[in-house]
């Protein structure tokens, strides 16, 4: 048995990195176990001619298609939205687009304001200093003064508008609707040892330039220098407990498949909204027969995804096409609840610049815009570099029947049960998606689009994983307390998107990381009596 460490973190993604860095200043012995590898940016797809093709293979967003040894399968057959993730140091930030919005004050008070779901036990002001700290560590870019938010500051100027941004901005202006340059986790200037964005256009397969803030190149180098140990290719099977019902450590498999036990005083889970409930549900014992920290029965319930609507326009003028980061501008015209619209809560539009030559062909072929045979080339050229548009990110409300459970048959390479997803789109989400498609079509038409291509929900778009170990003050209605500690196990903490109470209508990672820093700070303030 290895010596007990003070803090053991499972998962080296967005949240695991942030919590590790923040706790490092305590000089405690901290170890992070990660099933994936350190990535080598020189092998990212944008360094080769097959950069688009690899997004269908070893750098696919779907673990089921990618099938790296470091991946685990996910049974999402019973969901209209498939899970997307990445397993490595950096976690899913290796592939994320780098859209980096904050939640709004109203997002923490949905019950009070709109009578749905639950309020969070914390508010925007609680998280604000941690948002700011995270912005410094990740290196965000943006333009101060967005009227959709309380004042906030980005350390770097925004990504360029480009042709796509200007065209759609004019569409929004014509309708009198809100838009603003997106806050992004992309360096527009040299920052903390990273180089500035050079518009590779392949953010979604890993940034070879190092401009996109994946946590392997932001938090982790600082945390490792401060003494945190990262053990890669270590897949945790279960968290063990002692007779007092406290977490005693974890059982994991190393690269050779050899089983180890690592004892720990504190265990922090950071495996994301699917990986975390999977691990907790697989950690059964006499004291916790239904999974660890699950006396509420809510581990794995209330899965939220953010149903996405894709609304793309074909223009007669050239757009940015394959150039530039996918991030550009956003609109929060339909963010806050308006009962007249027929749904509660709202959504954000995020404008994507364009697509590469292969993606253009496939969009055209699959939507019937580009025929097979003789007409191919002419139709292709009407679309190449001429498609731009947006996605509508709809707030998904928590519903207990949307679940992550353990699959009775499917297993990973180590025989650990795979997660099984059961998810249905709610009527509220359906209406919101329809609204997003209709209004998005208006913007594109106002901007001059001659044809519109839509998909709602985006079937491959389960990239935001939230709600499956929710935070709250009532142990019967939540899994962790208001500072991330499991109600049932006083030395077990959760810091990833699982602890979200509601999902808001924005990408989650900036809030996931702010929460991880807040939980770390809460721990540091209570070190003398952490387990009381």
């Amino acid at each position: 048995m290895a010596d007990a460490v003070d803090v053991l973190i499972v998962g080296a993604g967005a949240s695991g990195a942030a919590v590790a860095w923040s706790l490092a200043e305590t000089r405690m012995r901290i170890v992070c176990l990660e099933q994936g590898d350190w990535m080598n940016p020189l092998r990212y797809p944008s360094t080769g001619r097959d950069w688009e093709a690899r997004a269908f293979g070893d750098m696919s967003i779907s673990p089921n298609r990618r099938r790296r040894d470091t991946d685990y399968p996910v049974n999402d057959a019973n969901s209209p939205i498939a899970v997307a993730n990445f397993n490595a140091v950096g976690g899913s930030t290796i592939l994320y687009a780098g859209h980096f919005p904050r939640f709004h004050p109203s997002d923490f008070r949905v019950k009070t304001l709109d009578g749905v779901a639950d309020d969070w036990p914390i508010d925007y002001d609680t998280l604000e200093p941690f948002y700011a700290e995270n912005d410094r560590m990740m290196g965000t870019s943006g333009l101060d003064g967005d009227p959709a938010y309380p004042p906030k500051h980005a350390p770097m100027p925004p990504v360029p508008l480009g042709k796509s941004g200007q065209t759609l901005a004019k569409g929004f202006n014509q309708l009198g609707w809100h838009w603003w340059p997106s806050d992004t986790a992309i360096a527009t200037q040299p920052y903390d040892g990273r180089d500035r964005c050079i518009n590779l256009g392949a953010c979604g397969s890993g940034c070879a330039q190092g401009a996109k803030a994946s946590t392997d190149i932001t938090y982790w180098p600082h945390a490792v220098r401060a003494g945190v140990e990262v053990r890669t290719r270590c897949r945790v099977r279960e968290i063990t407990v002692n007779d007092e019902g406290m977490a005693s450590g974890v059982t994991y498999y190393d690269e050779e498949g050899v089983e180890h036990f690592q004892a720990a005083q504190v265990v922090i889970v950071a495996c994301n909204g699917v990986g975390t409930p999977r691990l907790l549900l697989n950690s059964t014992s006499g004291k916790f027969p239904n999974g660890l920290a699950n006396s509420s029965g809510l581990v794995g319930k209330n899965l939220m995804f953010h149903p996405y609507a894709s609304i793309q326009g074909v223009f007669e003028e050239p757009m940015d096409g394959y150039k530039g980061p996918g991030v550009c501008i956003w609109s929060q015209e339909f963010y806050e609840t308006d009962a007249e619209r027929g749904f509660v809560r709202g959504y954000t539009y995020e404008i994507h610049r364009g697509r590469g030559p292969v993606a253009t062909a496939l969009t055209g072929l699959h939507s019937g815009r580009i025929p097979l045979g003789e007409g191919h080339h002419e139709a292709y050229r009407r679309m190449f570099n001429r498609v731009t548009g947006m996605v509508g990110i709809c707030e998904d409300l928590p519903e207990e029947h949307n679940t992550v459970t353990l699959d009775p048959e499917l297993e990973d390479a180590h025989g650990i049960p795979a997660p099984k997803i059961d998810y249905t789109l709610s009527e509220n989400s359906r209406r919101m998606l329809d609204h997003a498609v209709a209004r998005g079509t208006e913007v594109l038409r106002a901007a001059g689009a001659v044809d519109i291509i839509t998909e709602a929900p985006i079937a491959a778009g389960g990239w935001h994983l939230m709600g499956t170990a929710r935070m709250g003050t009532d142990p019967q209605r939540s899994v962790v307390n208001e500072w991330g500690r499991a109600h049932d196990v006083r030395n077990l903490f959760i810091v990833d998107g699982s602890i979200f109470v509601t999902s808001a209508g924005v990408n989650p990672t900036r809030t996931i990381q702010a929460l991880a820093l807040y939980v770390a700070d809460s721990m540091k303030k209570r070190l003398a009596n952490l387990f009381d």
Binding site: E52, P150, P160, L161, N199, L200, K323, T360, H376
Partner: protein, 170 residues
Amino acid sequence: MDSIATDNPFTEEQERALIALAGAIIPANSAYAVPGTDDPLIAADILATAKRHADAVSAALDREDRLAIARHGAKFVDLDAAARQSQIERANQPGSGDDAEDELDRARFRGQRAMLSIIAQCYYRDDRVMRSLDMEPRSPFPEGFEVEEGDWSLLEPVRRRGKVYRDAPR
């Protein structure tokens, strides 16, 4: 003679059929000075890529053959160029023939997604095709691309309108 171990999941006939099919899906075009997908360099790329998706590709080829036999009494690879072209282009308007053929067409179109993806991946990274699209035939990294900054004065009306978020109780 002992058989030689091979990692090629396709028979020679399947390989010919795959190239014939690809060539009919994206034919050469002199107006744009581009080769078709049956060009030897592109075809080799397609064959290498298709091996990693052998099941889907074999299934798609089988469906083409069933359709060709139903219509012309011959496998797809044995049809003349015009017949191949017309079979492929039929998929642009599924629902135009008799019921049995329509069903086969629809199944075929679904099965083709994997194949179309392989064909598009290989075709649209060929130097000649990229040049015809005014792209430099190179990887995005390390040179990157230029994106214009744009006109930030477009934000004026948004600034004038002011705050659009709701306050919330603490």
